[in-house]
Amino acid sequence: MDAIILQVLNGLDKGSAYALIALGLTLIFGTLGVVNFAHGALFMIGAFCSVTLQRILNLSFETVDPTKTDFLGNPLKVKTPYVESWFGPEMGSTIIDWSVPLAILFAIPIMILIGFVMERGLIKHFYKRPHADQILVTFGLAIVLQEVIKYFYGANPIQTPAPEALTGVAQLTSTIVYPIWRIVYFCFAVAIIGAVFAFLQFTTFGMVVRAGMADRETVGLLGIDIDKRFTLMFGLAAAVAGLAGVMYGPINAPNYHMGMDFLVLSFVVVVVGGMGSLPGAVAAGFLLGILESFASMKEVITLVPGINQIIIYLVAIVILLTRPRGLMGRKGVME
């Protein structure tokens, strides 16, 4: 029983990342009608916002410690971060320790800006082109972005640890423990998803966007500049993916390839959830996350060898055969 509960928790946790990325993907598809293969790269850039802030906070000045030597036998250069000299060692190290949560504030404007530039600079030129063209150009963009990140940060993963206070495990029952940061990540994902839904549901802006998603032409005829709002939605989707990346850093060390690792899975999530359906993307994200976790159990692998590698695609095939529009897909979208 404990094993099952743990795998459900793992699934919710994995599903959080899938759901956040898929939410942005389907938001872009639903509003702009663009199949954005560069969305995984936005998740990766978010994680590297965290790496960047960590590096900024660790900018140091060097002093020479004559009592110690480096690997070449020269006097050792000791690095002291500026924040520690400005705010004192204790406060300075606390600021560095909390660099991941602080990176949320750092990442939001950067991700929105990147979203704007991507949409205005490149993707808007492909609105009226076939989906195949959109896929090619956004996939190419994703490769360019990841190579740029690799050029500046290298190919090796870079640790962005969670704050000391949020590391370790929480004792959920007498026999079940679970990493605190993963619980934080799940709660964060739920909060972000809730905020996006509330924004779309309860604000005038959101109402116009939803109306535009349902019938873009009619909204345009009412004199509303729906394109401008959709551009803002692209920025919002980029921010959601970026924040998912920032918070994911302590779970798995960011590397330039992490966007691609999530991209294909997230697309499957969107398709299973139903193209253009926001609740569908979220539900499918969590569902596939849980199924993937269960498929990784030794007992399941013994029963069906290799199931852990194909489960998501298997489920996608079954759902698309039985419900061609996905779990919550709308009529007329991608048909």
Binding site: D2, K68, G154, P157, V169, D261
Partner: protein, 448 residues
């Protein structure tokens, strides 16, 4: 009486076959007059460095390339000479190889077997490389080794740790300086038994490819021989990024040790996940839970950060070694690049010197003469103590380092500390050992 039927389709077919024949790789025909592939005719000789320049091991590949460039510089008489001054053989004198200046070309393996073969093939056929070396993966090493055997050039393997490279997939034209999974197990198991006791239950997570399988088999056999029980071995996909669903079952499995047969990004993520799940604070069967990483590299340790502290593993070489060879190499490399070399850099540098030395001693670039010069060759002064290139399988036998993640690193490079230098005798095995069975070297192919 026979009748000759000439049809348009027949002419096209015949033409295509004839064209394909004419387009056969040059190494199958053009070099035959000289007796071996790519025999150097001018004043230079070209070596092919096939390393991952893109993909997940690009950083390791970059370090390998730095080492190769340094080796070429030293072979041509530049720099401070590095290990040339400590190498037991004095055949090399800084005037290139056999009087020819050493030049090089590079290829990108991308850590993909097909890409690595394509880049090696291109270096052999287009650039005239007489030797191919490099790589950061056993799958790639085995693939390229096979290609070099067919092409008739020597392959000096880079970082490849699978038993199969010099086991069932060994080739007469291929040579490995790096240690292997069996050696890791043989060196590590006694240290683990000493530190953690003989009554332990181990749970293995294993990367699902050639290196992972042989590494798991080796470490399980070595620890079981000392009394440990292997309670489970779960194969994980190479593409896995989040290992939480593989780690969670460990918590209630009754195991008190987790062995991570992972390398590169897999190792960084699985170790990070294991630490997140509080395994290191856990007490099972009345003992502290322990994690073991059989194969360490400094670059991986850097990726895993503070998670490596106190965790045991093995490594082929470490920059903190204090023998004359290691000190000379670290000084050369550190002065040129500003940081100490990795074990991948070390093995690549040494392989280049060993190839050059063998050619010099053999008095020829003929792959078969070089193979003969390397087979059964005993040498010293290259950082691992007295070393033998065994003739039967082309595997180097030397001391193996057991290392531990350092508790208080003084720099970003100071991540591992040497716990024990396991003597060569303890990691040796018979050429027909079951873990290495199933293949044969075959005979040397000079390509002509």
């Amino acid at each position: 009486m026979s009748k000759l039927n000439v049809t348009r389709r027949g002419v096209i077919k015949t033409g295509a076959v004839a064209g394909a024949g004419l387009a056969l790789p040059t190494y199958l025909s053009a070099a035959s007059h000289s007796g071996y592939t790519n025999a150097p005719t001018g004043s230079t000789v070209t070596l092919g460095f096939n390393v991952p320049q893109t993909g997940p091991y690009a950083d390791e590949g970059a370090d390998e390339l730095r080492a190769y460039e340094l080796a070429v510089e030293h072979l041509n008489g530049g720099g401070d000479g590095g290990m040339l001054s400590t190498f037991s053989s004095k055949a090399l004198d800084g005037t290139g190889i056999l009087g020819k200046k050493v030049e090089y070309v590079t290829g990108d393996t991308q850590t993909k077997s097909d890409a690595a073969r394509a880049s090696a093939k291109s270096m052999i056929e287009k650039d005239g490389a007489i030797m191919i070396t490099g790589g950061s993966s056993s799958g790639v090493a085995i693939a390229v080794q096979g290609l070099c055997q067919e092409a008739g050039v020597i392959f000096m393997a880079g970082l490849t740790h699978s038993n199969d490279t010099t086991g069932k997939d060994k080739k007469a034209n291929g040579f490995r300086h790096f240690f292997n999974g069996y050696m890791s197990g043989a060196a590590l198991a006694p240290v683990l038994a000493k530190m953690y006791g003989n009554d332990r239950k181990a749970y293995h997570l294993t990367a699902d490819y050639t290196w992972g399988w042989t590494q798991q088999e080796s470490i399980a056999a070595a620890t079981e021989a000392l009394g440990w029980e292997t309670v489970n071995n779960v194969l994980t996909p190479l593409a896995a990024t989040d290992f939480s669903s593989y780690i969670a079952p460990v918590l209630n499995s009754g195991a008190d040790v987790l062995v991570l047969n992972h390398y590169g990004g897999n190792m960084v993520n699985s170790l990070t996940n294991a630490v997140q799940f509080g395994l290191r604070e856990k007490v099972v069967n009345g003992k502290d839970f322990e994690i073991v990483v059989p194969l360490y590299s400094r670059l991986m340790a850097k990726g895993a950060g503070a998670n490596v502290k106190g965790i045991f593993g093995s490594t082929n070489w470490h920059w903190s070694l204090q023998d004359e060879g290691s000190k000379a190499f670290v000084k050369s490399f550190g002065t040129k690049y500003g940081f100490p070399p990795s074990q991948a850099a070390h093995t690549c540098y040494v392989q280049t010197l060993l190839y050059a030395d063998a050619a010099q001693r053999a008095g020829s670039f003929n792959p078969c003469a070089i193979a003969e010069a390397l087979e059964g060759y005993e040498f010293d002064g290259l950082g691992n103590g007295p070393t033998l290139y065994r003739a039967e399988d082309h595997q180097c036998f030397k001391d193996v380092l057991v290392v531990k993640g350092k508790d208080n690193p003084t720099s970003e490079f100071d991540l591992l500390e040497i716990v024990e230098v396991t003597p060569r005798a303890q990691v040796e095995y018979a050429p027909d050992h079951p873990m290495f069975a199933g293949g044969s070297l075959g005979s040397c192919n000079p390509g002509a």
